[in-house]
């Protein structure tokens, strides 16, 4: 007769119990900030299709203090998304060998963040050119 009675512990609130998991949940949540922004953008696209008056209405809405503050919050979330995404990037890649040695994860992340900064600035430059 077996006297085994294995006890299974609950997973409730697992992510609150370790700072590593709290950070994980935070960076997962940044996706919602990104989604919120592109939905605002989508509304803009729809307004663009409805004519100049509708479009200008959307532009005016973007100028309201509530909108600007909201966008600052969304910006913070989006920037943290960029940072956490590239921090995770080395995890998803096979080893990158440069000059006979494997690149350290910090080097991969650093390089990727530089690429991201360049991409952002390139976008700004393109928009600038179009605007002129």
């Amino acid at each position: 007769m077996s006297t085994r009675k294995p006890y299974v512990r609950s997973m409730d609130g697992w992510w609150k119990k370790n700072p590593y998991f709290v950070e994980y949940m935070v960076h997962e949540a940044t996706a919602l900030f990104v989604a919120a922004y592109v939905l605002v953008l989508l509304v803009g696209v729809i307004r663009l299709g409805q004519g100049e008056t509708a479009w200008n209405g959307w532009l005016a809405a973007m100028q309201s203090p509530v909108s600007v503050i909201a966008h600052l919050v969304l910006l913070a979330g989006a920037v943290y998304h960029t940072y956490s995404w590239f921090k995770i990037l080395p995890m998803t890649m096979p080893p990158v060998v440069v000059g006979g040695k494997k690149m350290a994860p910090e080097a991969l992340t650093g390089s990727a963040l530089i690429v991201a900064a360049v991409a952002g600035l390139a976008l700004l430059a393109v928009v600038w050119r179009i605007a002129l």
């Binding site: 996706a31 922004y37 592109v38």
Partner: protein
């Protein structure tokens, strides 16, 4: 000895998630800055950067259309994939219904975006 295993369809959603995550990581912060802060406050960029004629021309342009579509659609697929998996992590095992709701939302957004952009003409 191997039990009956079924091939997962996850690669489709994971691929869309990955593309959306990467694209949004590269471009969304600057886009938020441009459309949500710089232009409304008149910072850095010339006045009229996002005027109706300029924006219409951009969105009618093949590349402009593609860029807007990619950012909106792929970012949505990225976000709903995370949202769906977060449900599971919070202990909400909502099954097929939640999957349809989440991915359906991204599909809806994608369709609306495509229709709107195509409706602007070329």
């Amino acid at each position: 000895m191997r039990r009956n295993l079924t091939r997962s369809n996850a690669p489709i959603f994971w691929g869309l998630f990955g593309a959306g995550g990467m694209l949004s990581a590269l471009f969304v912060p600057m886009m938020i800055f441009i459309t949500g802060i710089a232009v409304p406050l008149g910072l850095l960029l010339p006045a009229g950067t996002m005027s109706y004629p300029k924006m219409l021309a951009f969105a009618q342009n093949f590349i402009g259309k593609g860029f807007i579509f990619a950012i909106i659609s792929l970012s949505l697929w990225f976000a709903v994939h995370r949202a769906y998996h977060s449900l599971h992590e919070f202990g909400i095992h909502a099954g097929v219904g939640a999957k349809v709701l989440c991915y359906g939302f991204a599909l809806l957004g994608t369709v609306i975006c495509a229709v709107s952009l195509l409706g602007l003409g070329f």
